[in-house]
Amino acid sequence: MIQTLDRKTAPPFHALEKIRIAHALTQKLDNGVPVSIINAGTQDLVKIEFVFSAGVWEQSHSLQASCTNAMLDEGTKTKTAAEIADSIDYYGAFLEQDVNQDWAYLTLYTLVKHLPSVLPVMEDVLKNPLFPENEFGILLQNKRQTFLVDNQKVAHIARTRFNALIFGKDVSYTYKLKVEDFDLLKRQQLIDFYNTWYKSNNCKIIVSGKTDNQIVKLLNKHFGGNDWKAEAKLPEIEAGKIQSDPKQKHLILREDAVQSAVRIGRILFNKLHPDYHSMKVLNTILGGYFGSRLMTNIREDKGYTYGIGSRLISLRNAGYFFISTEVGVDVCKPALTEIYNELKRLRNEPVSNAELDLVKNYMLGDFVRSIDGPFALAEKFKKIMLYDLSYSYYDEFVETVKNITPDVLQELANKYFAEDQLHELVVGKV
């Protein structure tokens, strides 16, 4: 019996069973520093992440937060920068530093077997940095050149200038970096910043990988004492007022550009807002995945761009939404028209059930993808911990995705995607 294979019909779809997310267990070191542990995975690896609220928000000078963070491993009371690098690299470990608008991170990745060898190095870096003048000079020089290179990229200019358009001048989040700032920053400002913020009472630790409670003992030994506590109370930061530029449309002309970078968006809210989960769904439909309306129309139908997308950004004290793309200068105008058409379509027509079902399944699949493995679980945990949220946040997200209706989405589009509330920036030519 020969059965012909039906290649035209899709195999039956099976909904995801209950989504389970492994939880972090939090306890405290002797000095009160919270340590959250995610024990998962099969590889003999562990990631230890120290988080400080020591981001751009906390700084009083441009570059202060990022340079302080980058200088931590550039020399301590007992070790030179080269010795520190050697003692990390020798064990195949990785020490990463990072700073964003709100937070500063110091992260160690290592094979479990080398933990006792590399943890003392991490302790030294965190507690005894010297901020040597020579290393600081090199860092500034190198950052300055990166800055100059970045400023030749239309996408970079669009990103930084757009930020200033929507936040206005007074907010800590506003991108203010100028080339002169590289000459103004002083070593003492790093030391001050370090002494204020890189302290045990401003620190949270997340451990993920193949680990257990033994690690708490080890962490207590190196980080559980009262020798790195801030003497003074942590300062309060003046928030400043968000004042988006009154003019909506902006062009930064680049005569020689072959592509224009485009940003369209607005100030919105962060993940604490009741509409946030629903807006995630609306944003996915608009520009949050490969099959989104913007990609389908502007890339897959018109071929105007290599890529286009939209995002919601959640910060500790604000949030925003933006669409971004780079398009050929010859098609920039029609691309802009199509972007506004897609926003209008979301305002004027309900999303079809077929499209919404697809997006719901995609988002749930994507959610499961995002909790795969210990490091991914740690990221997921971090995103709620930093906002003092509990895991019920993710249950609410899943429920919102499952139950949202076309009417609600259309209402949100009218509420938040009105054309007169959007800022537009083109870098290049229109």
Partner: protein, 415 residues
């Protein structure tokens, strides 16, 4: 260690399965043994353009992405000099959708005119975005033809020029598909929440009926030994000068490949490396300076690249690089330094085995190069590298006559 099982369908499709029950997802990775090196010199960029067309609908299914997203899946692909690789992840209970989609586009594409027209534009925008409208974006467009005169590595995967992409016709597309996109020219890996007993019937059902094609025999011209130093000087609107020095080296099939790879790690991997400490920190000549291997299957390149500190003269920067290279030619690397780079290889390997997509790709690449076992045994090749071996390779590769140098000047610095 990635455990796997392997079988081959009658049509020649090789199938590899790695079970990992820690995840509710499955990754399907399909590697086609075709890359930019298989292109006609007058139609470059075609393998990559073709990769885009693989998403433009297949013979029985008008859209590839939509049905995959509908079951919670996500996918992507990339093209290199040597291969084209497609991968997707989806919840394991919908894995049959992956078999359905991937087998249909292996069977035949829809060959839609609209898709060709649109993807030509998309790829041209990609060309502009990544190679033309970016500071230093055209470096490889310049370096490749400088280093290779005969072998097809002389062009980048995006192609020599936009015109080649503009000129692509449907006839070309069909011919390319018929030549390269056959089950006997592909390797499929499944990893994640799936077993070989689940894979076998699905593979037979969906891929079994696809006819094999004639075996593709690759006969590429061999790059002759380089006999004199080549240089190219350009001036661009970039803020700082940069230098790129490339040297011909062995292929990835040779055991010496691992020696050269570790040599490049000693020179520039991490903040404890020689370049970092000597050229950035001590002499303050570079903002950024790297050594690495191109990792090609045919004879590849050992690359040194650096961005100069403003005000530093190009010749001083080059001299300092040469001095470091000379050290590695004349002095044996010490054991501790060698152990350090080997330890880094070991830990990087363990890190890369954390997710099912990386594991699937490792297995596919290893099977394509030699055998899937290589994904697990490659580490031994690194571990057997010796200080003497590094010195020997350094002396063989790093010579004046084997070098091609690109001096990339900032317009502003000349003023």
């Amino acid at each position: 260690m990635i455990k796997f099982e392997k079988f081959t369908l009658d049509n020649g499709l090789r199938v590899i399965v790695h079970t990992d029950n820690a995840t509710p997802m499955v990754c399907m990775n399909i590697l086609y043994d075709v890359g930019a090196r298989d292109e006609d010199p007058e139609k470059t960029g075609f393998a990559h353009l073709f990769e885009h067309l693989m998403f433009g609908g297949s013979i029985n299914i008008p859209s590839y992405d939509e049905p995959l997203q509908r079951v919670g899946g996500e996918n992507n692909a990339f093209t290199t000099n040597d291969i084209t690789n497609y991968y997707l992840t989806l919840p394991s209970n919908n894995v049959e959708t992956a078999f359905w989609l991937e087998s249909d586009r292996m069977l035949s594409l829809a060959f839609s005119e609209k898709s060709l027209e649109v993807q030509r534009s998309v790829v041209i925008e990609e060309f502009r975005q990544r190679y033309l409208n970016q500071p230093y974006g055209d470096v490889w467009l310049l370096l490749k033809p400088l280093a290779y005169k005969v072998h097809p590595y002389q062009w980048a995967t995006i192609g020599k020029e936009i015109k080649h992409i503009e000129d692509a016709t449907m006839e070309n597309v069909k011919a390319f598909f018929n030549k390269h996109y056959k089950p006997n020219n592909a390797i499929m890996v499944l990893s994640g929440d799936i077993t070989i007993d689940q894979v076998k019937p699905l593979a037979e059902k969906w891929f079994g009926p696809i006819p094999a094609g004639p075996d593709f025999k690759r006969a590429l011209p061999i790059e002759p030994e380089q006999r004199e130093r080549r240089t190219l000087t350009v001036e661009r609107d970039v803020p700082v000068d940069a230098i790129y020095k490339v040297y011909h080296m062995c292929s990835k099939y040779d055991k010496e490949y691992y020696t050269v790879d570790l040599m490049s790690d000693i020179l520039s991997r991490g903040n404890s490396s020689r370049f970092y400490n000597e050229l950035i920190k001590k002499q303050k000549l570079f903002v950024d300076v790297n050594a690495y291997v191109s990792g090609d299957l045919d004879k590849g390149l050992f690359v040194v690249s650096g961005k100069l500190v403003k005000g530093v003269k190009m010749e001083d920067a080059e001299k300092a690089i040469d001095a470091e290279l000379n050290k590695i030619k004349t002095h044996l690397v010490d054991e501790k330094e060698l152990t350090k780079v080997k330890n880094k290889i070991e830990s990087t390997r363990v890190f890369s085995e954390m997710d099912i997509m990386n594991k699937a790709m490792s297995l596919a690449m290893a099977e394509h190069q030699e055998s899937a076992d290589l994904a697990n045994t490659e580490i031994e090749r690194y571990n057997s590298v010796t200080a003497e071996g590094i010195k020997e390779q350094a002396n063989k590769i790093i010579t004046e006559q084997n070098s091609s140098v690109l001096y990339y000047h900032s317009k502003k610095s000349k003023v």
